[in-house]
Structure formats: structure tokens, C-alpha cells
Amino acid sequence: MKKEIIFDDKETGLILDNFIKDILNSKINFNNAAIIGIKSGGVPLAGLIRKAVSERFNIDCKIGYVDMTLYRDDPFSVKKSGDATELAFDINDKEIILIDDVINSGRTVRASIDEIFDFGRPEKIKLAVFIDKGGRELPICPDFTGKKIRAGKKEIINVDVLSKKKFVEKYEL
């Protein structure tokens, strides 16, 4: 399996800074916002955004995670990961920032939104994705995008924003 670095540490850092800046500078009312990361790729990004909001505005946003396996349109195509949805707060009337590392077909986002609605009725959901690799199969468009790239359906994009050396790489299955 050949892995190819698309963005190195410096480039990934720059994309990440701009991505977070875009979210912080948006019209989101962080006093009423909750951050939800889609498991597993959205988890580290959700943490970074929460930290950035706290540093800039001194607001501790609620944070949660969704594992949308049970809401997939092909529920058995992946083995149950043993992960669980963790939304330990009332999401009714909240402004949700839904975060994932990579968007492709849009099916993961569709399933995640479905799941969130089973917990209540948020006021809004804003979608933030770090890498948009195109290839949408549903009418879903992120509100915040780190970087758009072109990649084939079989190409897997792997994002690491937590290591000392951040990177975005791609490889084919």
C-alpha cells in the first residue's frame, strides 16, 4: 500500500489555522453552540475547535461525538466499531457545528444528521470538514472547508492534526 503525502506538516498547519479562523470569524453564536465530531476522524478536530473557541471567546462549548454506524444506508458494510455516540447534553435549540476530517459522498454526514435529530431538534447545523475530496452523491455542502482536493473514490485520505508532525496523506485500498 503506497502512501503519498499530499500536505506536509507546514501546509497542514496552515490549512488548519485558516479552517479554525474561518469558523471563529463566522456568525456562529458560540454562547449557544455545541461542537459534535463525527467518529472517528472528526474527534481530534472537534477538540481543537473547542479549544480555539475557549481561547478566543472564553466560552466552553459543549462537545459530543456521533458514531453513525447504525444510521448508515448500508448498515452492515462496516463491522461495528465498538464506538458509541456521546451526546451528553440537551441539543434542542442549539447551534451545532458538525465536524469531520474528510467529506466524500456525503452519506456519512446524512447519517450523522439523522442520528442527531433522534436526540432533539437543534436550531441549526453547520458542517465543517477539513478535506473535501469531492465525489458527492447527495446534495450536501459544507459551510466550512479546510481544503478542496481531487481524489478518486478508492483513494483513502488520512488526516493527522494531532501529531507533532501533522500531515494529510492518500493511499489506495
Binding site: 447504525l70 444510521y71 448498515p75 436526540f119
Partner: protein
Amino acid sequence: MSFNKKDLISVKDLSASDINYFIETAKEFKKISLKDIKKVPTLRGKTVVNIFYEPSTRTRSSFEIAQKRLSADSLSISIAQSSVTKGESLKDTILNLEAMKPDAFVLRHSESGAAHFVSKLTDASVINAGDGINEHPTQCLLDIMTVIEEKKDVGSLKVAIIGDIYHSRVARSDIYGFSKLGAEVYLYAPHSLLPRLIELKNVKIAKNMEEAVKGADVIIMLRIQKERASYYFIPSIEEYRNFFQLTPELLSKASKRVMVLHPGPVNRDVEIAGSIINGGRTHIFKQVENGVAVRMACLYILLGYLKNK
């Protein structure tokens, strides 16, 4: 972890890692029952047929609720109102239902081996919801889940199973399940109600109630099964009560944090003192709660296997 069989017939056939896989999955499903909207769309478009040839409150409603929470279409056949009363055989009943293309059968039957027999007749998944005096695998899984939630490592526990073991499919499944996970299992019952030929590692037969209960971390009490003529195996209920009832006094000899389980239905003041139940010292309702999660996990795992085959 994965499970590559279409049916769940017995715990005897499961490995320790299979048991853990079912329970890990069930822990995830348990959270669904705590949500505001207790439903996920996972088994949308799947049909599950529940056939109960014996009466049941808990198991049957638990399976039905599990199916509804996973959005499966479920159908429960009440034997009293079915063609079984006109003399239709189990095989013919199943073959006719099979023609309606269900994805799974949940079967309870008074004959040991019925679920295994049905699993050979159909391409659908079969879940054994109790077959005669053989096994009741989902009850065993929910018992283990209830214990794991409190005790973490089952391998270091002393588990006492007391009562009509011979006629108890729950006991048989629990003996296999707990011993496979490394627990030390003590059995105690009137001699006439002890199963023959128990040659499993970690399974011992206690000489009296004290030995069974002393230092036990888990005590599983079983009911005298009127419907299986248990009364012919004991001199009288009064005698049974005197020698085999779990009393508060006996319970005090167990480990301090002992868990008392009972698969239900309970015959109060026969196998277990009513005061132990009234005092909230049992985990009966926890068991029932976990039963729904375990059954959701079983349906999800088995139907997932069929889909991926």
C-alpha cells in the same frame, strides 16, 4: 471481532471471544434505550418472526422491543391461535413461514434441539429463545452482561447456580458461559435435579447451601419448573423451601458485594426469600433491562452476517 454464523443456538458453541463480542455490542445498543427517541433505522426492511410454543413474558416482549428499536418489521405468532392447534408440525409451520421470506426466526419450544432443527430448515437466521431443557443463550448473555457491568473481570469470580438445574436451560447456558470466561461455577440442587455428566473445567457441585453460597460473587437462583414436572423430583415444596431457599441469613455468608440474579419468573418464598427481592438486593430488573440490549445485539450481528455472506 466478528461472528460468522447465521444462527445463535447455544452457548456451548460459542467461544469466549464470541461471548465478549456479543456483550461489547450489546453495551452500545443499551444506550439506544436511554435516548429520547428509542429507535435506530438499522434493520429497516428486515422481517423477524417470533414463534413461542411456550408461554413467555420477559423473553418475548424483550425480543419484540429489541426488534422495534432496530426498526425491523416483527411478527409474533401466538401458538394458541395458530394452525399448530390444528395439528401442523413444527417443520411445516416453519416451511410455510419461510415462504414469506423472513430474515430471522426467534423460536421458543418445549423440545430440546428444536432451534437447531429449525436452523437446518431455513436460510433465515434462527435465535434460540429457549429450547426445552437444553439452552437459552440470550439469557446467558444478558446474565454475563449484568455481571460484567459491576464486576469487570468474570474470570476471578465464584458463581453459584442453585435450584432446579436439571430442567433449567438458563442454568445450562450459564454454566457454559461463565465457565468459558474462567469463572468458578458451583452448582447446588436436590440430587434428583442435578444434571448428569457435568465434566466441565471450573464446574463443581456443592455439598450444601453454605458451601455454594460462601464467598460467592454471583448467585443465580432458579425456579422449580412446575411445567416440567419438577414437583415429582422433590418430596414437597415445603421441604425444598427448607433446604434450598436463599434466605437473608445465607446471603450474608456470600461475598460483601454479591450479585443475586434470577431469570424469572420468581416463585417468591420458594427458591428465594421475598424479603431479598423487596429489599432491592437482586439484579433482576437490571437483567431485564440488559435483555433488550443483548437481543438487539444478537439481531444486529446475525443479520449483518447474512447480509455480508
